[in-house]
């Protein structure tokens, strides 16, 4: 079953071509990596798949939903760019705020997710006092907490120490066993190759599969 399907997708931004006739499929349970230099269009691709932006040409289907303007895919978790939260709230309160939208998590579920990513669920520290690494962990927590079937990670190991990176890898391995599909975006192939079933490179605004 296809989780993601991009067909002939083109995206422009302010008259600048970002992606040109891109095709990609991600199967259920598959992990795909996309590498590219800064400004190559990696994050734009992620945003298109998440419904945060819409293609100028072509078709995008994410979790069986055709993403036309206004539509959003279901059961998708995302960690994009440097995570920012409500600074005056604690990590737990930020997750609680987000969880109220779908309302499928208990307080215990949220605490367990925080513990899983290496954060203290009982901490009263406001996010404004968090280090970059802690915010990254909180970002990962919000992406995985409702157990989405597709997770989109943009530079997931940013600001993580060795322990944090190992924790993330462990989380991903366990979620993969449950059938979760992943799309990683990174500037470093080394960082994601180990976890990915397939790796693509953005070159000249197009997607090219890298075969070892």
């Amino acid at each position: 079953m296809e989780k993601v399907s991009l067909q002939n997708v083109t995206k422009q931004f302010k008259n600048e071509l970002i992606l040109d006739d891109v095709n990609l499929t991600i199967q259920s349970g598959e992990t795909v990596g996309i590498v590219g230099s800064n400004g190559s269009g990696k994050t734009t691709l992620l945003r298109l798949i998440a419904g945060l932006s819409y293609a100028d040409k072509g078709t995008i289907v994410t979790n069986d939903k055709i993403l036309t303007p206004g539509e959003l895919p279901s059961e998708v978790g995302i960690l994009i760019e440097t995570p920012q939260f409500f600074k005056s709230l604690t990590g737990y309160d930020n997750l609680k705020y987000l969880s109220r939208i779908k309302n499928v998590l208990s307080d215990e579920d949220i605490k367990q997710t925080l513990t899983l990513v290496g954060l203290d669920p009982t901490s009263k520290k406001k996010v404004s006092t968090y280090s970059l690494g802690m915010r990254q962990r909180l970002g990962i927590a919000q992406a995985i907490m409702e157990k989405p079937t597709l997770i989109l990670f943009d530079e997931p190991t940013n600001a993580l120490d060795e322990e944090g990176a190992a924790t993330l890898k462990s989380i991903i391995v366990n979620l993969k066993k449950c059938g979760t599909s992943f799309l990683f975006v990174s500037h470093s192939r080394v960082e994601i190759a180990e976890l990915c079933d397939r790796v693509f490179k953005i070159s000249s605004k197009q997607l090219v599969e890298i075969n070892d």
Binding site: K42, R47, L72, Q84
Partner: protein
């Protein structure tokens, strides 16, 4: 603090208006109902200016929450569609209209009571006088007032939302509302063209301007409660359609100037 200031200014404006127009006996202490009804009929400062501008300020954080950070992305993906998100946003806006009106009314009543006004049954404002001539129940009068103010504030709120989605700036909508309020107030004071004033958006939630209250209202034959409510309903619907279109097609990105990382 701001509501206290509005209460004090509106009291002063209403008293001045009623004594200048000889609608209240000399040295008569106006009642709380006179002041409340008078406040929400006060074109010169309160309804054309203070209310629209203060309400824009009141809702600015609510409208922009999450937009300055990745919280919008995290929030949005938990909804079924962008329209769903917008429906929830508009429901929240409606609640804030009710909170604002309640907060303003209660604060005003407390201030007026402290200044010595009572809930006397004798009411002198021209709206009460005209209503008694027409034998319209007081409860109906208050209902019409409240419905129009709520509808009007909601309309202003949706306009703010549209301006925010267009400008992508939290402060600019308030400035634009300020400018337009100033413009409408200036038109009222210096142009006094009733037909023009009857078609301006910030006139539509002021019950005391309808043709039923001539010479105090606008002398425009079709400018009735039905006209005002129709204007507000159509205006709000158009603004919601505009907001839906803008938000449905928006590229959600932290930095709108960058194409990509």
């Amino acid at each position: 603090m701001f509501f206290i200031v509005v209460a004090l200014i509106s009291r002063s404006e209403v008293i001045t208006f009623m004594y200048l127009t000889d609608t209240a006996p000399e040295n008569k202490n106006l009642s709380i109902p006179d002041l409340w009804i008078g406040t929400f009929s006060n074109i010169r400062l309160v309804m054309y200016f203070l209310l629209p501008v203060s309400f824009s300020l009141y809702i600015s954080n609510f409208l922009s929450i999450g937009f300055e950070s990745t919280m919008l992305e995290y929030t949005l993906l938990r909804y079924d569609s962008r329209r769903h998100y917008l429906r929830v946003k508009l429901s929240g806006l409606f609640l804030r209209v009710v909170f604002y009106l309640t907060h303003l009314s209660l604060t005003s009543v407390v201030i007026w009571v402290l200044l010595g006004h009572s809930f006397a049954l004798e009411n002198y404002h021209y709206i009460f006088t005209y209503n008694s001539l027409a034998n319209i129940p007081i409860s109906q009068l208050y209902s019409v007032f409240i419905i129009k103010i709520i509808a009007g504030l909601f309309f202003i709120g949706v306009i703010n939302l549209v301006l925010f989605l267009v400008t992508k700036n939290k402060v600019l909508p308030m400035i634009l509302i300020f400018i337009f309020s100033f413009f409408q107030g200036t038109l009222y004071l210096y142009v006094m063209n009733d037909v023009l004033l009857a078609w301006l958006p910030f006139s539509q939630f002021i019950h005391g301007t309808t043709v039923d209250y001539t010479p105090f209202g606008f002398n425009v034959s079709y400018y009735s409660t039905l006209f005002q409510l129709s204007y507000l309903i159509v205006g709000t619907a158009l603004a919601i359609i505009a907001a839906t279109f803008l938000f449905s097609h928006a590229d959600i990105s932290q930095d709108k100037n960058k194409g990509d990382n």
